[in-house]
Point group: C2
C-alpha cells in the first residue's frame, strides 16, 4: 500500500508556475505567497463532509472539481484573483484509484484558472475535504457584504435551482422522475464565477455567492449592510432543468435551493449599464431581481408587486431535518 | 438546539484587533489580510482527526489549544510572525458545552500570540478540525528546509520524547505505569516556538518543526537541502519525564517519538554564539545535536562516535500498524 508521502507526491505534486505569486509551494513547513503590491490577501476555507455536502460514493473526479469550485466561488464573491490553495484530506484508506481520480478533477479546475496547489495535509479518517483558497484584491475594490445601499439594484448571475432538483432526485424524491443531465451538471460541476467577480470590481457595491440559497444568502448582505430589500420572484432566473416543475416548486428551488454557486450582488442603479457590460465581458448572463431599500427585512413579491409568502431558509448543518 | 450560525457567533466571533494585518475578519465570503510591505505571506494547513491525532474523548479545551498550536508550530519553523487563522470544524452534534470548551482553549492560545480567528466553516460530521494559519516573513529570511549546508551545526529546541511516552501510556502500554504530568502536558499543551523562530531569522540556515519524530523530520531537511548528517544520540535532549526509562527506549522516544513541536534547525558553525543568543532572547533552551555533511543519508552515533542502529521512521498515516 502506498504511503501518505508517496500518494501526495505521486498525484498532487507539481512545480509551481514560474513568475507567479508563489515563492514556495508544497514541501516546506509553510508555503510563501506574495500578493501584488497594494493588494490584500483574500482567504476562505470550506470543509466538505461525505453524506452532508456530497452523496456517499460520489464520483471522485467530480468531487475534486466541486471541492475546489465551491472555495473559488468565495474568491469570486470577493472580486479576488486566485493565487493558490491548500488541500487537507482525510481518507478512510489509501485508495490510489480514488486519489488519482480526485486529483484529476481538482487539478483540472486548478489548471483552468492557473492556480497552484501550495500545501496541505493527508491523513486517515472518515472522508473529509478541507480546502483553503488564497487570492488578492485591492482593499477598496473588494466586493464585501456590507456595501449595499438603499436604491441599489439586486442582481444574480446565471440560473438558480437546478442543483436542488438534482439533490431531490438523488435523494429518491419520486416527484421528480429521472435526473436531468443539466441538473446533475449543476450539482457536480459548478463553475465559480471568477471572471464576473473580477469584472464587477469598482461596479458592484456588495456581493455574496449563492451556496445556501438565494434568499438566505441575500439576507447576509442585508444584515451586514443594515438595509432591507424587495425581490421579484418572477424575475429570478430558474434553471431550464426546472421547466417541467409547477410554478411554486420552481420558485422555491430558485429562491431557496442552494448549491448554486452563482453570484448575488448589488450595484447603484446608475451603474446598470456598467453591470451589463461587465457581465458581457465575463460571458455570464446576469438578471436584475430586486432593489435595496431602507430598513430591515426581505420582502418577496411577484411580477405584479403582490407579496408572496416565501420563507427564507438558509441551510443549517445542525438544524433538525 | 442552537443553529450552526448561533454556535459560531456565540463562541468564536470577536472583533478583529484594530490596526493589525486583518482588514476584514469573520463574516464575509473571504477574510482580507495585509502582510507588512516587503514580506511574503506564509500559509500552512493541518487536519486533526479523532482517533488518529487525538484520543476519543480528549478534553475539548486541550484539543482547542493543540489544534492551533500544531499549526502555529509550522509558522515558527518558517520564522514567520502570525497574522491570523481560519478554523473548519466538523462536529457529530451541536454540543454547546463541547464547543464552548474547545473555543476557550483555542482562543486562549490565540490571545497569547494576539492572532485573530479570521474565518472558517462549521458542519456536522465525524469530528475533524482543520486549521489554516497565516503569517508573514521577508522571503530572504524565511527558514526554509532547503538551506542546510555541509559544516552547519544541527540544533534542537527544548526536550523530546515526552509526548510519545504519554501516547504509549494512554494506549495502555503496561510497560510505562502511570502517566507523568509533565508528559501529559507535552502531549496536550505543546507550546509553538514562535519566539525562537523569529529570533533565528538571519541566523539559521534551515528549520523544521518536530511533529513526526526528530530523525524523520531532519531527513526532510537533508533531502530538500541535498546533504547528509551525523547526529549524536547521546546529545539529543530527552524529556525529564523519560528519566525512569532504560537508555534504548529513552533514546528511541527522543529520536523518533513525534508530537514534540520543538524546532530542529541548522546554522553555520560560525554562528554558534548567535544561536545561543537567539535562544536566550526567546527564552527557549537549544542543544547542538550534530552536523551537516556532504552526501546523502543520516547516521546516528553515540557520544564516543560509534554508529547506533536506530531506524528513522516518520509517522505515516497510511502505514500498516
Amino acid at each position: 500500500m502506498p504511503s501518505e508521502f508517496e500518494l501526495i507526491a505521486r498525484h498532487f505534486t507539481r512545480a509551481p508556475p514560474a513568475g507567479g505569486a508563489v515563492l514556495l509551494g508544497v514541501g516546506d513547513d509553510c508555503a510563501l505567497l506574495t500578493p501584488p503590491a497594494g493588494e490584500a490577501l483574500a482567504v476562505s476555507t470550506d470543509m466538505l463532509v461525505e453524506g452532508r455536502h456530497f452523496f456517499p460514493g460520489t464520483d471522485p473526479e467530480a468531487l475534486g472539481h466541486k471541492a475546489l469550485a465551491v472555495n473559488l466561488s468565495d474568491l469570486a464573491a470577493m472580486g479576488a484573483r486566485p493565487l493558490g490553495f491548500t488541500l487537507a484530506l482525510a481518507l478512510p484508506a489509501a485508495d490510489e484509484d480514488w486519489v488519482a481520480a480526485f486529483a484529476r478533477g481538482l487539478l483540472a479546475l486548478a489548471d483552468t484558472h492557473a492556480i497552484p496547489l501550495v500545501g496541505g495535509d493527508t491523513t486517515r479518517g472518515p472522508l473529509n475535504l478541507c480546502i483553503s483558497v488564497f487570492g488578492s484584491v485591492a482593499p477598496a475594490q473588494a466586493l464585501r457584504r456590507d456595501g449595499a445601499r438603499p436604491g441599489d439594484e439586486i442582481w444574480v448571475s446565471g440560473e438558480l435551482g437546478a442543483a436542488r432538483l438534482a439533490v431531490e432526485t438523488l435523494n429518491g424524491n419520486a416527484d421528480f422522475g429521472a435526473l436531468p443531465d443539466a441538473a446533475a451538471l449543476r450539482l457536480h460541476r459548478p463553475q465559480p464565477r471568477l471572471g464576473l467577480g473580477l469584472a464587477l470590481r469598482g461596479i458592484a457595491s456588495a456581493a455574496i455567492d449563492v451556496s445556501d440559497g438565494l434568499l438566505g444568502d441575500l439576507a447576509h448582505i442585508l444584515e451586514r449592510s443594515g438595509v432591507s430589500a424587495v425581490v421579484d420572484a418572477d424575475a429570478v432566473p430558474a434553471g431550464s432543468a426546472l421547466a417541467s416543475l409547477d410554478r411554486p416548486r420552481r420558485q422555491a428551488f430558485a429562491l431557496n435551493g442552494g448549491d448554486d454557486y452563482e453570484l448575488c450582488f448589488t450595484a447603484p442603479a446608475g451603474r446598470h449599464q456598467q453591470v451589463i457590460a461587465a457581465a458581457g465581458e465575463a460571458g455570464v448572463p446576469v438578471t436584475r431581481i430586486g432593489r435595496i431599500l431602507h430598513g430591515s427585512g426581505l420582502q418577496v413579491v411577484d411580477a405584479t408587486g403582490q407579496p408572496l409568502a416565501v420563507a427564507s431558509r438558509s441551510f443549517d448543518h445542525f438544524a433538525e431535518p
